[in-house]
């Protein structure tokens, strides 16, 4: 399946080619109070991604059943895939997992702290740190990202809940979670021991994200064939693993990762910008991503600041493999035209675009112009613009000094 329509693809996660159950629950902690598992508000399929692509559409019944904690991508290594053989260990990590878990509004004694949950993992965002291994990992013989862009998880049951610790308002539980894991349209039911830690918002936690937190951690192992992957044969078993280990660590927040807190930005525009990034970055699908980006740019063709945000995101967002500089040029120049060359942020983007093309003189020129229009910006907004000018100037000077030294020699 191509990711061109990966938002439609969302529901495909529920397709089950085969379903195998493994109870890999390790012995649970024997701490403190024993809780019985409460009745969950489990969905029967993994909900689709929201418009932004950065969380899922939580079913109405689950919204009513409790507090929703959205998985926060990009703050930690969320998922580790380990395959171990006598000769090789391949560890792939992903920090672009999106989804949610649901907890009761108020956890009373005897309640399960986890009522429901589901998450989606964009396969293209798995990285081994080795380009050749990445290519194998994403390729047709392995996870086949072109056909199966996502792995999905759906919680189907929670049991064996025990309160593990209490430190101030931080409450930790151990529990066993049953999940349907779908890889390449093959679904396996796995049971995994997990820890569930509730951490209310503090002035300290807000550096990571806004909102109250839940931290969900667990791990499990499954044979590769249950995930639709080829089992190693006699010849390949030294280098190809029979079992896959998954380690999960999700920081989840009551604040959606696509929450827009800037009143100058329209919510719908923000969601579309995030959808664009989800495609070009999380799914590494430049064809679908820039097609959507061009459509979105047309929608905001008369909105300079929105166009500038789109251009800037291509230049600045981490983990975009293909940065389409022609796209950036078209978008940022239109933004600059609309804003009459007097908008500091847009001039800052233009400077960066020139810089990325190696045009240092122009980068300095536009960065200097940006610094002439800082009035009205908050200090935290103005600072990176000034820093960019200093950095481009320093690099230009170093280049000129180097050239002079060369000519002197």
């Amino acid at each position: 399946m191509n990711t061109a329509d990966n938002f439609k693809h969302a529901r495909c996660g529920a397709m089950k080619a085969k379903n195998t159950s493994f109870n890999l629950c390790a012995s649970v902690s024997l701490w403190l109070i024993l809780f019985s598992g409460g009745a969950g508000a489990y969905a029967d399929e993994v909900p689709p991604r929201a418009l932004s692509g950065q969380t899922l559409d939580v079913p109405a019944a689950q919204l009513e059943s409790g507090e929703v904690y959205h998985i926060t991508p990009m703050v930690c290594t969320q998922l580790v895939w380990t395959s171990e053989t006598p000769l090789l260990r391949v560890v792939a990590t992903c920090n672009r997992v999106v989804g949610y878990v649901v907890a009761p509004f108020d956890i009373e004694e005897g309640d399960s702290p986890l009522l429901a949950g589901a998450w989606r993992v964009p396969v293209a965002s798995f990285r081994t740190g080795l380009p050749e291994r990445d290519a194998e990992f994403h390729g047709e013989q392995a996870l086949n990202v072109a056909e199966h862009p996502e792995i999905t998880f759906l919680i189907t049951d929670v049991r064996d809940t025990e309160q593990a610790s209490e430190e101030g308002e931080r409450l930790a539980y151990s529990l066993t979670v049953d999940c349907e894991v779908t890889v390449k349209e093959t679904t396996a039911t796995v049971s995994m021991p997990m820890t569930w830690t509730l951490q209310p918002f503090t002035w300290g936690t807000m550096q990571l994200n806004l909102g109250d937190f839940v931290v969900l951690r667990g791990s499990f192992e499954v044979p590769v064939e249950t995930l639709g992957l080829p089992a190693p044969d006699e010849r390949s078993r030294d280098a190809s693993a029979a079992m896959i280990r998954f380690d999960l660590a999700f920081l989840c927040s009551t604040v959606r990762p696509d929450k827009n807190i800037d009143p100058r930005v329209k919510h719908e525009d923000y969601y579309k910008l995030l959808k664009f990034l989800t495609l070009v970055r999380d799914f590494n699908d430049p064809e679908a991503g820039y097609r959507f980006g061009r459509e979105y740019a047309q929608e905001i063709w008369n909105d300079g600041p929105a166009l500038n945000r789109l251009a800037w995101s291509v230049l600045d967002e981490a983990d975009i493999e293909r940065r389409d500089m022609a796209f950036v040029e078209k978008v940022v120049k239109r933004a600059n035209e609309l804003l009459k060359g007097e908008h500091a942020d847009t001039l800052h983007t233009l400077a960066r675009w020139h810089y990325e093309r190696g045009e240092l003189e122009n980068a300095v020129k536009f960065a200097r112009k940006a610094c002439e229009h800082l009035e009205g910006l908050a200090p935290y907004e103005a600072a990176p613009i000034r820093q960019a000018l200093e950095s481009y100037q320093a690099e230009l000077k170093a280049r000129e000094d180097g050239a002079k030294q060369e000519s002197d020699e």
């Binding site: 509004f105 308002e169 918002f201 002035w203 909102g211 929450k259 800037d262 009143p263 908050a378």
Partner: protein, 432 residues
Amino acid sequence: MRRDSWCAVAALTLVTFGSATTTAQWTQWGGPNRDFTCAVGKLADTWPDDGPPVVWSHSFASGHSTIIVDGERLYTMCRRGDQDAIVALNIADGEIVWETRYDAPTVEGMQLEFGPGPHSTPLIVGDRLFAVGAMVYFHCLDKHDGKILWAKQLADELNASNMRRGYGASPIAYNDLVILNTGGGEAGLTAFRQDTGEIAWQSETFGPGYSSPVLVRFNEEDHLVVALGPDRLGIDPATGKTRWRTTVDSQSFGIMATPLWIPPNKLFCSAGYGGGSRLFELKHADGEYTLEELWHYRKMQVVHGTMARVDNIIYGSSHGSFGPAFLMGINLDKGKPIWRKRGVAKANVLHADGHLLILDEQGYLILATPHEKGIDIHAKAKVLEEKSWTAPTLIGTRLYLRDNHTIKCLDLGQEKITTEAQRHREEVGVKS
């Protein structure tokens, strides 16, 4: 409100309460008793699809200052360029009667993405109007013509903090004094003579705060009750001396909501950003006052919205720590919510004769009836645009409200007023 009338309110309970709320006055933040509870005329049970009838509506400059009412005039504040403006409008048609502007440039380092205010609500006492802008310029005006009687720049004179997002607490009157939060410098609170602006007293040093003070009567004494940073305080309003003080956890530092006094001796405070809601009991023994915490429920976190009490339930919009907003009712006896509801954005709540009027930040106005298990919503209509953070003002059946673009008056009365939309429906034979 003058001290003598305030004491009468406290002492004579319902009779005086009735008289205070039927004089069609709303001369300060929070209404007659600063608790967002008011008497009203007979409200309509529901509204047409397009909302209650609009009596008048005008475009208006930005600001979050609420609208106060004194006789035939409305008063509020708005922002025009680098100036603050104090404005008087005609109650009948919303036309501006006078407007007094003064320079109030923003200060470097302020975080004003939600606007430069003004956030505070003016106060009327007798012929004078008192108003504070976001940059902490404090003015006393003649309410009849807007003439400036005296003015102070409290950031310069008292080192009062603008709290980076702009000063937000609303002034309160006591006898011949007007009292303000002035934290950040020397004194947490300062009382000024109403006639001259001369400083009458200054309290101890407390942090700055957005939460507006209230006056209560307990143990036959008046107490100025205020939440400043983590401190929950009772101050002698005549002298500024601290009578009682309790310090809560640092998560409640960012309190903005006005405390609610529950006679005879309970105090309800709610704070966002992890703070939560607390109920306190004020006690007096052996000549000492103490404020004892009865319960703390962390998940009701009213940020800057208003709250209202109906019997032993307090209703408010819990926005938590930037998460989704829940409209909630919390039982004061149990310290637990009786109910909570998604689908209403961060909101202000007003209690009007058994009804709740809820205006959310997206501009939806809700008419509801509270009961022991929750609320019944009778009507909901979009009446303003985005960022409707200003608490509405209700006089009789007229609701005065504004956002950053518009000021308007709606009629919530039972008597049918035919709107254009209704007329159109009737013409084309569509049932309303």
